[in-house]
């Protein structure tokens, strides 16, 4: 039997004007049988997307195929005429991009876009395609399949859009699907929902698939075979169970380490046995809202935070977790003064901070610094690194000339970047390097508190793990405190001393890491904990059999007018009790607290 896709000694290079061509993909071979899912894993720049795109006979601009062959059902794609390739793309081989939001055209209905490729290629008539799309909507467990096709992309959630992309790819019944990091940008609970649908539909349709990702735990759930790539070369190839449980290559083992947080229990701490009991920064009963100006003072329109309190001691890390829409970034904005709180106080060393940024004095501003989420947009592309790092030095500390130069060099050393980078512009750096500069800029102010907003969520596993290592080292060296925000509970568990779990702007659970991450759990914390993909084959199937789990996934964060905000997604919810009244807060002696109607 011929393989659906057989990549044979593939070579891809980037021609350069004054040097020898740069080899991007080196002698890569790969075979995919019908109904099989092969995962390509590796960090960014390992060539995994480039290899996957070769199945479409597509090269990114600036690259070219320089050797080998790509056989689809036994026919070499690299030797086909452009006309013939057009007949294959979208028909025989379908591509699912990383961001569904960027893939869908907001001006066309979902139905038009899902059926488009099948109709263009003449596989199905428009009416047949519509029927086929509806079947796929059923198979992917999308809500309201009969009418979904008439809706617009902005009317469905992110996870649903991601599944609709699968429908779009499968509509023309392709032989091969290429999935390019389809769950990377999603919350853990949404990721489960999408993975589950993908897995089911791939099995039912019997299509072969190439799954490109850097997340080993996801690979363990969905792939049959795994190919590990580094720098355009195959490091290891084998069945998923062998790669996960018994990796042979050293690089694979390193990937596994980056994916496997050192501890989920938080017991590895004890860095600061006797912390200063006075908090550096304290958030006291803060509520915040957007859009207050329009409704009138005192009557905010959209309340985002409800009576949030937390304390951060010197050199301590408080992690804040929750899905998107829980108010994590709003909390950062309130502490930094970008969004004045509606009620409640922010205390810095016991001193009350003015709610508005403009009313705070320079040293108060200096002592609280934000590390922004997207390093790509947090650095002005028209300023050199030395200007970016130099500005806070001049602005807060009044440094000039040689002193300033020395400090910039020291900052670059601190974030482990070469000093020569000071003359570069941000677009000349990689994602991880930009995030380091982003961090260095915040450190330049010599702050007491760093507010880190999803600093590693846009980085891949190994680069992200390096950044976390760096944060740990900085904390040891400088004694700076952190408010560390992430949707990824495993990262937070690894780095924090204390965890605050936010749901729809309410603190549902709060306490030392080992207490929050061990029973008794708030139902939402348990949902988050069990949604983290485990590096184990078969984890997904097991988790989906669990009724408690499935009631919480696939739903988005919404606020409740009264009662417990988590009511609609909670497996323990009791109508009439949980849906009304104030949520009682259960406190434990070591500062652990849970907000739930049930006694847990």
């Amino acid at each position: 039997m011929t393989a659906v896709l057989h990549i044979h000694n593939l070579e891809i290079e980037a021609p350069q004007t004054d040097r020898r061509p740069l080899r991007i993909v080196k002698d890569v071979s790969l075979k995919i049988q019908k109904g099989e899912v092969v995962a390509l894993i590796g960090e960014s720049g390992s060539g995994k997307t480039t290899i996957a795109l070769s199945a479409l006979a597509y090269c990114k601009p600036g690259l070219r195929f320089s050797g080998g062959e790509v056989l689809l059902n036994g026919r070499n794609l690299l030797r086909m005429a452009a006309q013939e390739i057009r007949g294959i793309r979208g028909r025989r081989v379908a591509y699912l991009a990383q961001s569904a939001a960027a893939t869908f055209n907001p001006a066309l209905t979902i139905g038009e876009q899902v059926t488009e490729s099948a109709v263009i290629h003449g596989v199905l008539s428009p009416a047949e395609a519509e029927k086929r799309a509806e079947e796929l909507f059923y198979a992917l467990e999308l809500p309201d399949p009969e009418r979904l096709g008439r809706r617009y992309p902005h009317q469905v959630s992110g996870g649903q859009l991601q599944r609709l992309m699968a429908a779009m790819a499968l509509c023309a019944k392709p032989d091969l699907m290429i999935l390019d990091e389809p769950t990377t940008a999603l919350d853990v609970t949404t990721q489960i929902e999408v993975l589950k649908a993908f897995k089911k539909v791939i099995r039912e349709e019997g299509a072969a698939a190439v799954y490109v990702t850097h997340d080993l735990a996801v690979v363990a759930q969905i792939a049959d075979q795994v190919t590990v790539l580094y720098n355009g070369e195959v490091q290891e190839h084998g069945p998923v169970a062998q790669i996960i449980d018994n990796p042979a290559h050293e690089y694979t083992r390193r990937l596994m380490e980056a994916a496997r947080p050192s501890s989920m229990t938080g017991k590895s701490k004890g860095l600061h046995a006797n912390p200063d009991p006075d908090p550096v920064i304290e958030v006291k009963n803060v509520s915040a809202a957007y859009g207050h100006g329009l409704v009138g003072p005192g009557k905010p329109k959209n309340k985002i935070l409800h009576h949030v309190s937390l304390k951060v001691q010197r050199a301590h890390v408080v992690g804040v977790v929750g899905e998107s829409g829980c108010g994590k970034s709003t909390l950062v904005n309130v502490i930094a003064g970008l969004l004045p709180a509606v009620s409640g106080d922010i205390l810095l060393d016991g001193q009350r901070l003015a709610p508005f940024l403009k009313q705070r004095c320079l040293s108060e501003l200096r002592r609280v610094q934000i590390v922004f989420q997207m390093a790509d947009t947090a650095l002005n592309p028209r300023q050199r690194i030395k200007q970016i790092l130099g500005r806070p030095l001049t602005f807060y500390l009044g440094l000039h000339g040689v002193q300033k130069q020395n400090r910039i060099a020291a900052l670059l050393d601190m974030v482990e970047l070469p000093r020569a980078f000071s003359d570069r512009f941000p677009p000349e750096l990689s994602g991880g390097q930009k995030q380091r500069i982003n961090l260095a800029r915040a450190l330049a102010a010599d702050p007491d508190v760093l507010l880190c907003d999803e600093v590693i969520s846009s980085l891949d596993a190994i680069v992200g793990a390096n950044v976390i290592q760096l944060l740990k080292a900085l904390r040891r060296k400088t004694g700076v405190s952190f408010v560390f925000i992430s949707h990824d509970l495993s990262t937070v568990a690894d780095f924090s001393d204390e965890i605050v779990v936010l749901y729809a702007g309410h603190v549902v659970e709060q306490g030392p890491v080992h207490r929050v991450l061990s029973p008794p759990f708030h139902p939402y914390t348990r949902l988050l904990v069990s949604s983290i993909p485990e590096l184990r084959v078969g984890w997904l199937d097991k988790i989906l059999q669990n009724q408690d789990m499935t009631s919480g996934i696939g739903l988005t964060v919404e606020t409740a007018a009264q009662g417990c905000a988590f009511f609609r997604r909670c497996p323990l919810a009791v109508d009439g009790t949980c849906s009304r009244g104030e949520v009682p807060i259960q406190t434990y002696p070591d500062g652990h607290l849970i907000a739930c109607h049930h006694s847990l």
């Binding site: 740069l22 991007i24 960090e43 960014s44 720049g45 390992s46 060539g47 600036g62 720098n231 355009g232 100006g293 930094a336 003064g337 970008l338 940024l357 705070r360 320079l362 501003l365 610094q369 934000i370 922004f372 989420q373 997207m374 947009t377 947090a378 650095l379 002005n380 592309p381 028209r382 300023q383 500005r391 806070p392 602005f395 807060y396 482990e416 970047l417 070469p418 570069r424 512009f425 677009p427 000349e428 750096l429 990689s430 991880g432 390097q433 380091r436 800029r441 102010a445 190994i462 680069v463 390096n466």
Partner: protein, 294 residues
């Protein structure tokens, strides 16, 4: 491994890096640039190389054909057309350039202020701007000139005011897009004032599209000034200016004289070639500008 492995990754160098980004003009763009430069040079040296003074009456007869005395003929008063075009270049380009600069200064300042401050400032400025945009350009200019009379400073002020409305829109739209970027938020969180944010964070990031827009705007203003002059409201005689030269010599067309055609050719070559250059540049910036031009 740390940054060494990171630095070695393949996708490390970004081709879109702003440093070393060069704009290469196509041959059409180069031709345009050549003609634009030609007229700019004429604007500088025109009066020195002209055979006669712009107002000098040389022949008694009007609309003389080309001869050794009048290289491209004479106008309706017997003045040398070539000399008047050479003198007029400075007037036409000078007034247009000054008006464009004025439009830019006003439009950019108010546009970025509106985007950066938002709220009522933005609302107020934008609505006033809308009112001006709703009035036809020429009519607005007629009102101003009727009230204050026609002189070169008034012309510059009028054209500058009228065209600052368009600049305001473009600058506001561009600045609005930049002002939501994290680096602007970072500057605000640092405690920077509006001046720093506008001049250091926003302005450098919108300069390139604004520079392209400057070319288009200059073309419109040249045509606008010429139109006013053609209507007799612009530059007053005996000062030479391309627009008024077309009007003065229009009668000659029926006698087969080219006196009105030469200044028209001058206007056309300058505006078309400016367009060619700007088109070429904006095509290379990925048509980004076209999306924002309103």
């Amino acid at each position: 491994m740390k940054q060494t492995s990171e630095a070695k990754t393949v996708g490390d160098s970004n081709p879109d890096a702003p440093a070393g980004k060069r704009i290469k003009l196509s041959w059409v763009g180069k031709l345009g640039l050549f003609i634009v430069i030609f007229w700019m040079v004429i604007a500088l040296i025109g009066p020195y190389i002209a055979p006669y003074h712009e107002a000098e009456l040389i022949a008694d007869d009007s609309y003389l054909p080309a001869s050794s005395q009048f290289l491209i003929g004479s106008d309706y008063l017997g003045r040398d057309i070539l000399s008047r075009i050479l003198w007029g270049t400075r007037t036409t380009i000078g007034i247009s350039l000054a008006a464009t600069l004025l439009a830019y200064f006003t439009g950019i300042t108010l546009g970025i202020a509106a985007a950066a401050r938002g709220g009522w400032t933005d609302m107020g400025l934008s609505r006033v701007n809308d009112v001006f945009l709703a009035l036809p350009n020429i009519m607005l200019a007629l009102i101003v000139i009727a009230a204050f009379g026609s002189s070169i400073p008034i012309l510059i002020a009028t054209a500058g005011l009228v065209y600052s409305c368009g600049v305001f829109r473009v600058a506001r739209a561009l600045a609005q897009e930049i002002s939501v970027e994290s680096y602007v938020t970072a500057a605000k969180a640092r405690g920077e004032g509006s001046w720093w944010i506008i001049t250091r964070e926003i302005l450098p990031n919108i300069m390139m599209p604004l520079a392209t827009d400057f070319g288009f705007r200059l073309v419109f203003i040249i045509l606008f000034i010429s139109s006013l002059s053609f209507l007799g409201l612009g530059v007053q005689p005996p000062t030479a200016d391309w627009g008024s030269m077309v009007r003065e010599n229009m009668q000659g067309l029926s006698y087969g004289s080219w006196a009105a055609v030469w200044p028209a050719i001058a206007i056309a070559t300058l505006t078309i070639s400016l367009n060619l250059v700007v088109d070429d540049i904006s095509a290379q910036s990925g048509g980004e500008l076209a999306k924002k031009m309103i």
